[in-house]
Every structure is written in C-alpha cells, then in structure tokens.
C-alpha cells in the first residue's frame, strides 16, 4: 500500500492566536467601567456635561474639580427654575445648598441617528440644561445629577442594547426616554428586571402600564378629544380624511379620532395608511380629492409628511383647499415644507416653544442664547424630556431617596409648573398637561391660537 502524505503541518498557531485575540478583545472591551462605580462616564462628546463640576453653570468643563464657587450669576438673568416650578416641594427651597457626593445618574434613551435622528440634537442640548438646572436647585437629595445619553438609532434592537448600557454599565437611577414605541417595548423589560424607573416622555399611542414606568408624553386622547370639536367649530368642516403612516401610533390615533369626530356630529369619509418611507402620493392624493373631505388629519412622520404636503398642493388638496389638523408636524418638518405649503395648518401638541408664559419665554431665550440662534429648535420631545427630569427630581426629593418604589410612589399625583405649563402625574401614570393648538402663519411662524389647560389622558393603569 502506498500512501501520500501532505506536508506536515506543525502547528495550529493561528487558531490559538485567534482565540487570544478574541479574549484580548473581550478584555479590552471590558474597560474599567463594568462594575458599580464607573469613574469615567461614557458620555457622548456632544453632551457638554460638567460631570465632576459641582457648579456647572458658567464653566462647563468636565475636568473642573476645584472647590465649589458659590456665585449664581444666572439668578439675575433667568428666573430660577426651581423657585417657581415646584412651589410645593420642601427640599427645593434650600436653594443655596451645593449638591455633593455620589451623583444621581439620569439616563436618556433617545433617537440620534436613523430616521428619527433628526429629533436627537434638541434632546442632547436639553440634557445639558437638565444637569445645570437640577444641580443649581440643589441636586437630588443634596447629590449632583449627571446625564448619560444613549442612542437607539431608531432601531429597537439597538435601543435594547443602549438600555442595557444605561442600566448595567452606566448604572443609572432613572431612564428618561424619547424614542419609538418599538424601542420602548424592547427596552421596558430591562427596566422592570433591574427595577429602574423608566419615564417615557415621547408622544405615543397610549396603553402602556408597568410598575416601573411613567408615560409623560401626549397620548392621542389628549391631543384629539378637545381639539377635534374645536377644529370642526372653527372651520365648519364636518367630514374628515385620515391619512397615516402604517404603524401603531397613527392607527390608534385614528381609532380615537373616529370616536371624537362622530361624537361631534362629523363623519370620517376616508382612512388610508401608507408605508413608512413613501415618496409618491399621487394616487393617495387622488383618493383624498375624490373623498369630498372637508378636513384632513395627517398622522405622517418625517419625510413622508413633507412629500405628502408638497405634492398635495399641486393636486389641489393643499391646506387652502382642505384644512389640516396635524398631531406630529413639528417645526423641523413644517420648516422644510415652507410657509407657502403650511400657512394656516393647525397642529395639536403638548408644547410649542411659542407658549407664552414668563417661565417659558425665559427658558426659550436661554436655550437659544446658550446653543446659538440657529440651534435645533426646542420642541415637544425635548420639552417633555426636560419635564420628565424635573418630575423625577421633585419626586426623588420628596421621597428623600432614589429607591425606585419610593420615587414611584412620590411621583403619583405630583404637580409642577414647568415651561410647558401646569402638569401633574395622573393615577394612570400618565401626565395631565396643557394641550396647545398652533396655527402656522404666513411667515412660517407658529402662533398658539388655542390652549386647553390640564387635559386628562383617557388612560387606565393599575400596575399592581
């Protein structure tokens, strides 16, 4: 028998080398912040933190560790937020106390890339103001606060990882979220398992109920119940066309809109859904034109909204012909459509930067002074994140602890006055809040033409 032998291979070093590389990689990736006391908060560069600084007001350099310097220049130029925002809060009256000790970590889960990434920048700005304002008001239980930002890339799988990062690696005490419902669904179980308070502050379809969650964004019942009858009265229109992107929030909004429209004696003459990312609305425009609707309720997001509205004008179903009541058109989207398209549209939301109150005017001017006149405009998403942070701080101060159950108990029924207006947590763990209707002016600006104070959400929740 003859045999042939391959040249003998001496070693399998490559496999071992790969294994070593793998383990080295794991070790490298572990870094130094996987235990309970991270010394280097992994914050995005965009968020200017002043993490170690006890007085972060004027010199936002993260490295500042020098002794606290008790000057308060902003008290003269801007109203002290905590003085007016939570008058019923005993702790906040000790405004001169400098927070010290182990910081309270506030995680912010938001969309900073992907389709919803356009809403990210104002939220990142607000994260700075959250730190500043809460620390200036004495922090939480005398401790300073630090914010930790995590991007969900508008993808629930990434959002879930980002939530893990916040809870398990950054060891946050609370997560404030402004992102899609899909990400909330994916991330919520983590908060529940870790018993971390999770305040979801984005407007959404409603129905969320969990022992660790509060939902402070607008729900459709708030945006629509008072506004739909008002809209019909204002315009005299009776018949509605509902056009939305195909996902949960528009569908739920339309379900409720139908009830309110019928209760007000109106009629829904058409309801259409288009996939996210739709670019051509010609056929849909024809369906709308043929429906004979007096009013259109468009629940379209981002580029879809812009495509629909710019195309609708040429098909003769622009705002001039059929007035709009929108529930998500915000400044960025409206700005891109341009005043020629948007003038006269009405938008119902829980916040506009045009809200006319001393508190809000001061806050907004401070925002633009701080981040520049061309900063991404402060809007309902960023405003609700700010409110959520103030609500958390007030509740934690009231509870005297950051223990989740205790803070959650203190949250129930909590009332504050913020730049948004008078807000209070309801028994359903949602937010009673003002609802504003803005009408877009010929120059593209938003004018608040109607406001409804303390609109109750039509939600029920008993997490026990």
């Amino acid at each position: 028998m003859r045999t042939l032998q391959d040249s003998r291979s001496r070693s399998r070093l490559w496999f071992v080398a790969s294994l070593v590389a793998l383990l080295a990689l794991v070790a490298a990736a572990c870094g130094d912040d996987d235990d309970g006391t991270p010394d280097a908060p992994s914050e995005p560069a965009a968020a200017d933190t002043g993490a170690e600084s006890t007085d972060s007001e004027e010199a936002p350099e993260p490295e500042t560790t020098e002794a606290p310097d008790p000057d308060e220049p902003e008290t003269t130029e801007a109203p002290e937020p905590e003085a007016t925002e939570a008058p019923d809060e005993p702790e906040t009256t000790e405004e001169s106390a400098e927070p010290s000790g182990e910081p309270v970590r506030i995680g912010i889960l938001f969309s900073n890339s992907g389709p919803a990434g356009v809403f990210g920048p104002p939220t990142a700005n607000i994260a700075e103001l959250i730190e500043e304002d809460i620390n200036a008001a004495g922090g939480i239980n005398g401790r300073p606060v630090e914010t930790y930002l995590a991007d969900d890339a508008t993808d629930p799988a990434v959002g879930r990882q980002a939530m893990e990062q916040l809870i398990d690696s950054d060891n946050v005490d609370v997560v404030l979220g402004t992102h899609s419902s899909a990400t909330r669904q994916a991330a919520k179980p983590l908060a529940e398992d870790a018993d971390v308070l999770y305040i979801y502050a984005a407007l959404y379809e409603g129905g969320e109920c969990s022992s660790v969650m509060f939902n402070t964004g607008e729900v459709p019942s708030q945006q629509l119940a008072p506004v739909i009858p008002w809209m019909m009265e204002q315009t005299g229109g009776q018949t509605w066309f509902l056009l939305g992107n195909d996902y949960v929030w528009p569908r739920r909004s339309f379900e409720l809109a139908r009830q309110y429209i019928e209760a007000a004696g109106g009629e829904v003459v058409g309801e259409e859904y288009v996939p996210l990312g739709t670019q051509d609305f010609s056929s849909v425009a024809q369906i709308i034109a043929g429906s004979g609707a007096d009013l259109i309720f468009p629940a379209l997001v981002g580029g879809d909204a812009i495509a629909f509205e710019t195309q609708a004008v040429d098909f003769g179903i622009g705002q001039d012909a059929i007035p709009r009541l929108a529930n998500i058109y915000e400044e960025n989207v409206l700005g891109a459509m341009g005043p020629a398209v948007t003038a006269g549209m009405r938008v119902t939301l829980g916040y506009f930067k045009e809200v006319d109150s001393a508190l809000n005017n001061a806050f907004v001017s401070r925002y633009f002074e701080r981040f520049g006149a061309d900063a991404p405009p402060h809007m309902t998403f960023s405003s609700h994140i700010y409110d959520a942070a103030l609500l958390y701080a007030a509740a934690a101060n009231a509870a005297g602890t950051t223990d989740t159950a205790a803070v959650a108990a203190a949250m129930e029924g909590l009332s504050l006055t913020t730049p948004t207006g008078d807000i209070s947590i309801t028994g359903s763990r949602h937010l009673s809040q003002p609802i504003y209707v803005a009408e877009i002016q010929a120059d593209g600006s938003q004018l608040i033409v109607q406001s409804f104070a303390s609109v109750e959400p039509d939600e029920t929740c008993d997490p026990a």
Binding site: V118, E272, T278, S283, I306, A336
Partner: protein, 284 residues
C-alpha cells in the same frame, strides 16, 4: 373617466420617477455587474445639489445639469478609487458600496445637518389637459425623465459606443480578448450611472424632503425596477419601471398603499424565481 385619466397620469408620473431613479442602478448593474448600494445616496446628493442651487438663489432647472456634472465627477472618482479594484467580485462590490453609502450619508449629515430641507416647486399649480388638472411640475418631470432615460439608453445601445457596450454585456471576457477597453467603458458606465442618479435627485427634490437619510427610501424601489425589468438588457429598466408603476398604482387604487409595496416585492421574488436559468456551462 376623469378618474381613470388621472390614475393613468399618476401611473405615468410614477413610471417616470421610478425609471429615472433606477436608470443609473440598471446601467451599472447591467454593464459592470456591480450592485451599487450607494445609488440611493447618489440620488440624495443630487437632491442636495438642487437644495444648494435653491439656497444661493439660482433657478431650479439649473440644478439638473449641475447635479449631473457633480455626480458624474463623484462617480468617476469612486470608480477609479474603489470600484475598479473589485468590480470582478460582485459580493465585494455589494459591501464596498454599502460602506460607501454609510459614508456619504454621514458626510451629508455633517455638511448639511440632519434637518429636513426642501426645494420649492419651481412651477407650482396644475395644468388642464386631457380634461383633468394635473400638476405642471409632474408633466415637466415626465418629459425630462423620458428624454434623459431615452437618450442615455440610446447612447448605450444604438451608437458606436453602444455596440461596444452590447458586446460587453453579452460576454465580457470575449469582449476583452477582442481588444475592447472595458476599463474605459466601466468608467463611463459608473460616471453616467451616477450622473443620472444626480439628475433624478434634482428632479424629485421638489416632491419631497431633502435629508441625509433620503437615499435609503429610493434604493428599494430602484432595485425592484431593475430586478423586475431584468438587468442583462438595458431597456429592462424602462420595462421594469412600467411594470412596477402599474402594479403600485393599481394596488393602491383598488386596495391600499401598504399592500402595493408587498405586491411589488412579491413580484420581484417571482421574477427572480422564474427568470430563464443560466445555460449550463455558461460560466466556463
């Protein structure tokens, strides 16, 4: 009757948009065998050219040739710098162009920010023809798209250059051994493909949002067109756009927009599945 006319016009305008958006993808795929996943970003950049033209106060129509030039140059640079190295390996081009699309998107975001922008319609309003009112801009878009698509395809098929192109489409190796300089042809194909994407971007800019992510929305439609039309003949782009536009418009008319999308995808699956199989031993 009017409703039918309108729906027909809708179908034609969708056909024009799909054809002009897919044209470059089809050329590059058919001629070079390169699946260009950055094609949507080329369209997005074309739209940004229109946006820049608008912001500096120039006439919108100027952006159409300008986008063609800008994207042609970009296309040539990318072909020489990247595609040329790898165009023989389809899977590598898929990945390289995917990476390229990520880069272009992020660069657009750094330069123009994430904000939605738009380009105002240069000819607002509608024109009455065939007994119905139909947006004037769409009539112009149909006309320009038809001219660009037809001219490009004719150049690639009927001219002397077209003969070379057809030889390459039929059998690249044979063409090369016959002394045809496929390198130059590739350069032309990729440059022209990018240029037509730029034109498409400038043309559709007034119809929607101009934003860094916009390319992601253009790509799937373009792919459906190329798949349905068949990529081994250049006129397939026109045929594919026609079929996809008809299916989309029809399903939206009789059912709804969501199922129109699913129907188009299913159509692509069927076409891929029942396409004539490659002859045995064709790849020797």
């Amino acid at each position: 009757m009017d409703a039918l006319t309108l729906e027909l016009l809708n179908g034609v305008s969708l056909f024009a948009i799909l054809a002009i958006v897919a044209l470059g993808l089809g050329i590059v795929f058919g001629l070079m065998g390169v699946i260009n996943l950055a094609h949507g970003e080329f369209v997005m950049l074309g739209a940004y050219v229109a946006y820049v033209v608008h912001t500096v106060g120039l006439n919108h129509w100027l952006s159409v040739p300008l986008a063609a030039v800008v994207l042609f140059v970009l296309g040539v640079v990318i072909e020489v710098g990247l595609i040329r190295r790898i165009h023989r390996q389809p899977e590598l081009t898929i990945l390289a162009t995917f990476g390229l699309s990520v880069c272009l998107r992020q660069i657009a975001e750094l330069v123009f920010s994430k904000d939605f922008q738009s380009v105002p319609n240069p000819v607002p309003g509608a024109t009455r023809a065939f007994g119905v009112l139909f947006p004037t801009y769409r009539y112009l878009l149909i006309a320009i798209a038809a001219v660009v698509v037809a001219a490009t395809l004719l150049a690639f098929t009927r001219s002397r250059f077209g003969l070379v192109v057809r030889a390459i489409v039929a059998d690249r190796d044979l063409a090369e051994s016959a002394g045809i300089r496929t390198g130059m042809t590739n350069l032309c194909a990729f440059g022209v493909g990018a240029a037509t994407a730029g034109i498409a971007g400038a043309l559709v800019a007034p119809l929607g949002a101009v934003e860094p992510q916009a390319g992601l929305a253009y790509l799937p439609g373009a792919f459906l067109v190329v798949i349905v039309g068949g990529y081994n003949r250049l006129w397939g782009v026109a045929a594919g756009a026609l079929v996809v536009a008809a299916v989309q418009t029809g399903v939206i008319h009789f059912y709804d927009a969501v199922w129109a999308q699913i129907a188009s995808l299913a159509l692509a699956v069927l076409v891929l599945q029942f396409r004539r199989p490659a002859p045995a031993g064709a790849v020797a």
